[in-house]
């Protein structure tokens, strides 16, 4: 290894976490063989030049997220995160299983709630969730799917086992970075791609579009899909434009839509055009001022009624938030057993439910050792990591937990696995998580090979959110064998049609240097004669 990895093993040892690239003896794992080989060839100057160029490309292309009103490029690290085929097949199954269970759970919650009557979860769990929307109770959405798009966050603990950290079935974001990261890496570290098959990610927009069209209201032959964005100031606006662009559909804002007779139309220069499927990228609370926040300017009045009447498909369905409530999360293994009669493929992280008295007392005694999270937070908001928190913060937390025990859960501090990450002039271990994305078209749950690996750029930090100084890594899933043997299409033979070119230097004898020099020589000679 070059000097870039000097001190790496020592730093990795300090974290006590599982390192994705190296075994404890500083040997590159098999899946990382090619990456390690490519990095070995590079000097610090190469690596930083490439990292700079990748960052510049992102900024030029506008691959940014909005942070406090400012467009920032999403930092992409040059070392990819590699997942071997066997580990991926487990993850893939686990993610798909979870999505199927949550889908069944949501159908049940907004219908008969057999899960409650069968005693799997307390009724209170559902009814006290901030995202349980009675407005959408009692109807099956058009197309029959509720969780079209999901992002299931998984992490690897110190023992190297994958665990689910949380489910995102409302508006999971980040897939645009997966697509852009791969493009940037293909140009930034081409050596590492060569001899191994890395499963492509570029089919995502196509899969998404086909799933959205497939779940259109019944009786629509050629459904029109739109992406509904809150607008240019949303932190994920870049993602909305990218997905709409790649799917070739319109990106609409609430003011472009109009509901009439339980159908949705968009205003175009050619009059009003019917919209059949809305890929909703705004929060439920802002979607429909008739049902939710009356002051919302982002949504369109009447959408929920249109959905109820089956005139439009909204993806993801309204009210999904009840399934990614972090307290419900703690019941997901039971839900998998209940709905699917299967054992969970990926385990949860151990979770204390603070509304249970014993657990609460146990946790309140050990606040400084645990991570405490609000149940409906996202983006790392409100989360308190015990060992890093000050006494005052813990005291404030204690009061808030006692005041609203339903609003919080606690988990042990997980040492997330690490991947080498460029920091200054060398690589250091940094903690990562992984968000695989799944697309559900009603028949099949497809999991995008890879997903978004977020990395905490600060040494020792466990918070990977982009809004809190996180970056990302390209995520490579290695293909087992040459995937499906590509059928060999007989290629038409290529005729070499040579270029017509007129090379000014040689095409014209008048141009030839010899002649001109000759002339020069003659005149020189004449001059000499004249002088003589």
């Amino acid at each position: 290894m070059s000097d870039l990895f000097q001190d790496y093993s020592e730093a990795a040892g300090r974290t006590g976490a599982y390192d994705e690239m190296f075994t404890p003896g500083q040997q590159a794992r098999k899946s990382y063989g090619q990456v390690a080989g490519a990095l070995r060839e590079l000097s610090l100057a190469d690596v930083s030049a490439r990292a700079d160029s990748m960052a510049r490309t992102f900024l030029d292309r506008g691959v940014t997220f909005d942070f406090a009103g400012e467009e920032r490029p999403f930092p992409l690290d040059i070392v990819p995160r590699v997942i071997p085929a066997d580990e991926w097949s487990v993850l893939e199954r686990g993610v798909a299983q979870r999505v199927r269970a949550l889908e069944a759970f949501l159908n049940d919650v907004y219908d008969k709630m057999t899960v409650v009557s069968d005693g799997v979860i307390p009724r209170q769990l559902v009814t006290t969730s901030a995202h349980f929307h009675r407005q959408v109770h009692g109807f099956e959405p058009a197309g029959g799917v509720r969780v079209h798009i999901s992002g299931i966050d998984v992490v690897r603990d110190a023992a190297g086992t994958f665990r689910v950290l949380e489910d995102n079935v409302r508006v999971p974001s980040g897939v645009s970075y997966v697509l852009e990261n791969r493009r940037a890496m293909a140009k930034g570290l081409p050596e590492a791609f060569g001899q191994q098959l890395i499963r492509p990610v570029e089919e995502y927009p196509r899969r998404l579009l086909s799933a959205l069209r497939k779940t259109a209201p019944a009786g629509v032959d050629d459904p029109t899909v739109v992406v509904l964005t809150p607008g240019v100031f949303n932190s994920a606006y870049f993602e909305h434009t990218l997905l709409a662009g790649l799917m070739g559909v319109e990106l609409v804002e609430g003011r472009d839509l109009i509901c009439r007779g339980n159908r949705v139309y968009m205003r175009t220069t050619a009059g009003e055009q019917r919209v059949d499927v809305i890929y909703k990228r705004i929060d439920d609370e802002f979607l429909d001022p008739l049902q939710f926040r009356a002051d919302s300017m982002l949504g369109c009045p009447g959408l929920v009624n249109a959905a109820r009447a089956g005139g439009v498909t909204i993806a993801n369905a309204v009210g999904n938030g009840v399934a990614d409530d972090k307290l419900v999360y703690s019941y997901v293994p039971d839900l998998i057993r209940y709905y699917l009669s299967e054992e969970p493929v990926i385990a949860n992280v151990d979770t204390y439910r603070l509304e249970e008295k014993e657990a609460r007392e146990h946790v309140l005694d050990r606040l400084d050792e645990l991570v405490v999270k609000p149940v409906d937070g996202s983006g790392g908001k409100g989360l308190v990591i015990g060992p890093d928190a000050s006494k005052e913060e813990l005291e404030a937390l204690r009061k808030r937990v006692i005041a609203d025990p339903r609003g919080w859960i606690a988990q042990p501090v997980l040492q997330l696995s690490t991947v080498p990450t460029l920091s200054g002039d060398k690589f250091g271990p940094r903690h990562v998580d992984l968000r695989p994305f799944a697309v559900n078209d009603g028949e099949d749950v497809w999991v995008l090979p890879g997903g978004l690996t977020r990395v905490a750029l600060k040494e020792g930090s466990l918070i990977v959110n982009s809004s809190q100084g996180g970056g990302s890594k390209d995520t490579w899933v290695l293909a087992d064998s040459p995937q499906v043997p590509v059928e060999v299409i007989p290629r038409p033979t290529i005729t070499v049609r040579e270029r017509v070119s007129v090379w000014p230097v040689e095409s014209n004898w008048r141009d030839s240097q010899k002649e001109q020099q000759q002339q020069q020589q003659i005149s020189d000679a004449q001059e000499v004669t004249a002088n003589a």
């Binding site: 081409p190 060569g194 570029e202 290529i494 270029r499 070119s501």
Partner: protein, 308 residues
């Protein structure tokens, strides 16, 4: 104007456009090539070179050789460096006619050719740089040269070469059919967003091919480029005929364009190689005819001599 100058301008137009098109093709295909296993990489590199109109010297021809042949080889008119060098040489011979803005931008480009690393990563940047430079050259030509006869020759060269490059671009798809999506093909031509705006839901191979071949409004489509060339030719030789065309070039360009425009598109995909072949042939014939008529009237004179 002098035939010699007209010829220089015609070739400036062609070479600059050739550099631009080659850079686009290289940029997109390099990414693909890089992902292929060694063996396949080699054969694809050779086929790609063939599509671009050159033959590999030997069987050892692989990715590094391809980079050299298409980007850096100053002695080959197929490469970007060669094209830009030739464009600059042509401009040097017509320096008193072209604007100083145009000359300087070509000259600066020429001296910038060496300032790039010639590995894969460097080539991506090189391609981007070339796209910027060629856009600048065309922009300066557009705004600093008066749109007279000399300008017409420049544009004529550019549009013919553009039709040829788009045809080659479409032919490269056969080479990498395994993984080359139409998305990349459209990106290659810079047509992706335009395509999506016009053909929203109808997305697929056939539509993308149609767009690059037949769209009447997208400037890099073959039909558009041929129409441009036709207009230039008409302006260069405005003599009105009651019947037919005397001008060979106009006949060739017009035939190629109308053949495409009026052809049924049901079997477009299977006929694509044939179409591309026809377009490339027409471009080279038209170029010959133009040079016979405007640049090098020797054979016409000889014929006149025989009669008398």
């Amino acid at each position: 104007m002098l035939s010699r100058i007209a010829e220089s301008l015609f070739w400036i137009g062609r070479y600059v456009e050739r550099a631009d098109g080659t850079a686009r093709i290289l940029d997109v295909h390099l990414e693909r090539l890089n992902h292929l296993p060694m063996e396949e990489q080699r054969s694809v590199a050779q086929e790609l070179l063939a599509v671009m109109g050159a033959r590999p010297q030997n069987d050892e021809f692989g990715l590094p050789e391809l980079l050299n042949a298409l980007a850096y080889d100053k002695h080959s008119a197929t490469s970007i460096a060669g094209s830009l060098g030739a464009a600059r040489e042509n401009a040097r011979r017509a320096r008193e006619t072209v604007s100083s803005g145009l000359w300087e931008s070509l000259n600066t480009t020429y001296y910038g050719l060496n300032q790039h690393r010639k590995d894969v990563v460097g080539t991506y940047r090189f391609c981007n740089w070339v796209l910027e430079r060629t856009a600048m050259v065309s922009g300066l030509a557009d705004t600093t040269v008066s749109h007279d006869e000399s300008w017409l020759f420049l544009v004529l060269g550019r549009s013919l070469e553009r039709a040829d490059m788009t045809a080659r671009m479409l032919s490269t798809r056969d080479v990498l059919s395994a993984g080359m999506s139409w998305v990349n093909m459209l990106r290659c031509a810079g047509a992706y967003e335009s395509f999506l705006r016009t053909r929203r839901a109808a997305f697929g191979d056939q539509h993308a091919a149609e767009f690059l071949l037949l769209d009447r409004l997208f400037p890099r489509s073959i039909v558009y480029a041929l129409r441009d060339a036709d207009e230039c030719l008409a302006k260069l030789d405005p003599s009105a005929q009651r019947v037919g065309f005397i001008n060979d070039a106009r006949r060739i360009v017009g035939q190629a364009r109308t053949f495409l425009e009026f052809h049924r598109t049901d079997d477009l995909m299977s006929e694509l190689p044939e179409h591309m072949e026809r377009v490339q042939k027409a471009v080279s014939q038209a170029s010959d005819a133009i040079s016979r008529k405007y640049f090098n009237q020797a054979d016409e004179l000889a014929w006149v001599g025989e009669v008398s």
